[in-house]
Amino acid sequence: MNTSTVSQAKPKAARWRGDEASGWLFALPHLILFATFVLGPVVYGFYISLHRWHVLSNSHPLVGFSNYSAALSDDIFWIALRNTIYFVLLVVPLGNLVSLSLALGLSSIKRFKTFYTVAFYLPVVISIAVVAVLWRWLYNTEIGLLNMYLSATVNGLRGLGLPLAAYQPIPWLSNPSWVMPSIALMSVWWGAGGNMVLYLAGLNNIPDDYYEAALIDGANPWQRFRNVTWPLLKPTTLFCLVFSVLGAFQIFGQTYVLFAPGSGPARSGLTLALYMYQQGFSQYEIGYGAAIAYLLFAIVLILTVIQFQLLAGSERAARRTAKAKA
């Protein structure tokens, strides 16, 4: 879905008298809700971020951008930003790799597709509260399923005479350096099915002719993937990447529930959204909280613009190559 071309596309329809008024009328119910709960808050939130604003106090003086400069010199803000970026860097590549691999697998088999699709998509429909409660149990250092199986595997291999050290249980959620990888693994399990369906739709949109042409040229499966699938799937890939990054930057529920509602050992699970929540709804400093939210917005916006430009650039390049080949 390329939003820039979509919004420019003008559906053609006959022009009828009275459409001017009914256009507004039909759009109105949604527009009222949209203006109240989306557009209004976007503007109002920026206004709040320019004030020293405590929920319980009656006066909230205008302080300009000092909430922003306070955030930028706040060590905890930088911890939250670093943790968030670390999470994004872990979950976006890994998640998309898993989603694409599953989609490629699904598109290459005939039977039991429904079973596999349901299995991979099932976690997507479950609430993050349930997911986090469940994984906190799986991640239990002493009696969690993951360490149990890993230790059984290592012991089994030792039994076969492999020179392995005795298994040390992984402190999934109690050691700061394991916290983000653990959250990322859980998030991949939770979300991979969503992008998988998008990749699958993208794969199905590639016409068979291209593969047949490649086959005639004597291309092997890897070459067919490299020269047909990968370039033609690029719009889907970039769409998935853009929205994965957008979603990953907003990580909140995972750490909120896992560390109910703290931020993990040594703040290792503190993310930007969680820090905004703590400032806004635990400390009631909503001016400062709103400033953090807008910094998050700015980062995400810059990254999205960069990614859309990459998308446009790669489409141009793909068209050039296609032309050159023809």
Partner: protein, 280 residues
């Protein structure tokens, strides 16, 4: 024919392994929920999946502390809010999508591009201002605080507009010549032909509202206004290390969406590509 010339039976091997890995956590959740406290510890060393004995004590335990954990109230809240939000979204979004795809009005494309642009705004930017707004509107800690914001997003309008645009203009022209106004075209031509798209949006909205986390956390306050996902965290706060009851509660919250998904999975998976959500 895709990457491979024939279907590759050996691919079922990695696919089965992956499917089992994806299903295992849910299986373990069910298994733990039906185990006795003793069995949870004892069964672990042997990695026993089948509870011995199978017990429903965790579920009855969860459901017996109604004072502290009004599970039925939370379930009722989740059901009502999700149904109401779905009805609201389907109504306002289909009307709006009709205006943006089928009617000619001067500000149309400019208004629509504002809608699309806001789809890139992170939800968290809206939380603090919406919280103040909801307080000032007197909606705080009411169902309205969770229902109305759900109907404000641009996603559904975008999705339905994409679908409405694929309906041939000729059908609309015929209806107009028969004397239908915009409302007549909407009701007699567009809506009946858009059932798959409406069903998809309806299912997405229902599941999205059912699982919503940040809104119910921030816009409600009293125990009786909470939804199931927030109820789970309240439960966890109290039964931090009692995994049996906790996973029984998690199972109760997960079952309705899991059943809804399995019933409608064809519709959901098809709907995603059908409505042009995929990389186009």
């Amino acid at each position: 024919m895709k990457i491979f010339r024939r279907t590759q039976w050996w691919l079922h091997l990695p696919m089965i392994v992956m499917a089992l890995l994806f299903l295992a956590p849910l299986g373990w959740m069910l298994s733990t929920a039906f185990k006795s406290p003793d069995d949870i510890i004892k069964g672990l060393g042997a990695l026993r999946w089948w509870p011995n004995p199978v017990t429903t004590e965790n579920f009855t335990g969860v459901l017996s502390k109604i004072e502290e954990f009004p599970v039925w109230q939370w379930t009722g809240n989740s059901v009502f809010i999700s149904l109401a939000a779905t009805a609201l979204v389907l109504t306002v979004d289909s009307l709006a999508a009709f205006a943006y795809s089928r009617l000619q009005w001067r500000a149309r494309d400019r208004v629509f591009s504002i809608l699309v642009a806001t789809m890139l705004v992170p939800g968290q930017v809206l939380l603090i201002p919406s919280y103040l707004l909801i307080r000032n509107l007197g909606l705080f800690d009411t169902y309205g605080a969770l229902i109305f914001p759900a109907g404000a997003g641009a996603f559904g309008v975008f999705l339905l507009r994409q679908f409405f645009m694929t309906i041939p203009v000729e059908l609309e022209e015929a209806a107009r010549l028969d004397g239908c106004g915009p409302m007549g075209v909407f009701r007699n031509v567009i809506l009946p032909l858009s059932k798959p798209a409406l069903a998809t949006l309806g299912i997405f909205t229902f599941m999205g509202t059912w699982n919503a986390f940040e809104g119910p956390l921030i816009f409600t306050d009293s125990l009786s206004m909470r939804t199931l996902p927030i109820g789970i965290t309240i439960f966890q706060g109290r039964y931090n290390t009692e995994y049996g009851p906790m996973l029984a509660a998690a199972t109760l919250a997960a079952i309705p969406v899991v059943i809804a998904f399995i019933l409608f999975q064809k519709q959901i998976i098809k709907g995603i590509s059908l409505t042009g959500l995929a990389g186009r």
